[in-house]
């Protein structure tokens, strides 16, 4: 099986797109929050690879062409952000305080939980960049001497989790303001959370994109201080 697929440039992309279509279909049909299209498609891809006996390496040799678009797509997040610039200027204080408190809550919370679990320094710094976007997170984990593979896995799990649970969290904590929702999604679960924010509305999407960039930069600034704590 692996051999047939190894020769194909299109199989990985095709599997991913079919999985996402199934995810969209299930979401439309049943509408539960847990039937998040992204989560569903990831599960389908993993099951498909396992049952067809395709290795991840073979799948990704084709699927990487989807990931290739991630940088230009992130650059494009500036467009909805620009369209909400007035709102951003008017709420500058709320935006900055929101993202700053969220970033510090993330770093401090990880420090507390890692000490409770008795993590060593390497395991602790592996977890530190977990809330921010993968590209910045990898750089931080490398620089602090963390285990990069785990950092990437944790960042992705965080993103998917944030994407799936956002509506529930907003309901429980009575977060109704679109600006606050967007900032919360971007700060807690980076670009994958932003994908959910964009579905919620233009203000949510713009604020979430902004939060991804700002939270990433703030984490770069604060992380070396926190790294010395364990």
């Amino acid at each position: 099986m692996n051999e047939i697929f190894r020769q194909s440039l299109f199989v990985g992309v095709t599997i991913s797109l079919i999985a996402y279509e199934i995810g969209l279909f299930l979401k439309k049909k049943f509408g539960f929050a847990i039937l998040n299209p992204l989560l569903v498609s990831i599960v389908i891809v993993i099951i498909a690879l396992k049952t067809l006996g395709i290795s991840y390496e073979v799948y990704n040799a084709s699927a990487k062409y989807i990931s290739y678009l991630l940088t230009p797509a992130t650059v494009c997040l500036a467009v909805p952000l620009y369209e909400q610039l007035e709102l951003l200027k008017k709420n500058m204080v709320a935006v900055i305080c929101g993202i700053l408190s969220g970033t510090l809550a993330s770093l401090f919370g990880i420090f507390v939980l890692c000490s409770l679990f008795g993590f060593n320094h390497q395991q602790y710094v592996t977890m530190l960049p977990k809330s921010i976007t993968t590209a910045i997170g990898i750089g931080i984990s490398e620089e602090l001497g963390g285990i990069v593979t785990i950092t990437v896995a944790v960042i992705i799990i965080t993103g998917i989790l944030g994407n799936v649970i956002a509506d529930t969290v907003f309901r429980i904590f009575k977060i109704k303001n679109p600006l606050a929702k967007g900032l919360a999604l971007g700060t807690a679960s980076h670009a994958i959370g932003t994908a959910r924010a964009i579905e919620m509305g233009p203000v949510e999407g713009a604020m979430s994109s902004l939060a991804v960039a700002v939270a990433g930069l703030l984490t770069v600034i604060f992380v070396s201080g926190f790294a010395q704590l364990i």
């Binding site: 991630l70 494009c76 610039l85 969220g102 910045i136 750089g139 896995a153 649970i165 900032l183 964009i198």
Partner: protein
């Protein structure tokens, strides 16, 4: 042709982001530099929204799909992840909810207070 020209501008900014990344020794990805460049171009009027908007919104709309390959990579990191799975999952769930709640509440509180003052 419209899409091609818009895509060209977006890729050009992505490339300039890569160039900045090569010269600035910080763990900041090319995409963030590119985002800032795009924002600056729009704010200064070098670019009009209409010159990039259609391609930009298309790329943003299909963005969730772009995370599937990386996430499917969890298959390969499973071996490293497994021994630490329980604490890692607990930390991930608790912190994600915590950060989302803190950010959302703080931003909402300030935004509402200022909103009332402005009116």
């Amino acid at each position: 042709m419209k899409f091609l020209r818009q895509f060209m501008i977006i890729l050009l900014l992505s490339f300039l982001g890569e160039v900045l990344k090569m010269f600035i020794p910080l763990p900041i990805p090319a995409s963030v530099y590119g985002l800032v460049l795009m924002l600056v171009c729009l704010m200064t009027g070098i670019l009009k929204t209409s010159q990039v908007k259609d391609a930009a919104f298309f790329l943003i709309e299909i963005m969730p799909v772009m995370f599937i390959p990386a996430a499917a990579g969890l298959i390969d990191s499973w071996v490293v992840l497994r021994p630490l799975l329980l604490p890692i999952l607990v930390i991930t769930v608790v912190i994600t909810v915590f950060v989302m709640a803190v950010t959302g509440r703080v931003a909402q509180m300030i935004a509402q207070k200022r909103g009332i003052k402005n009116e």
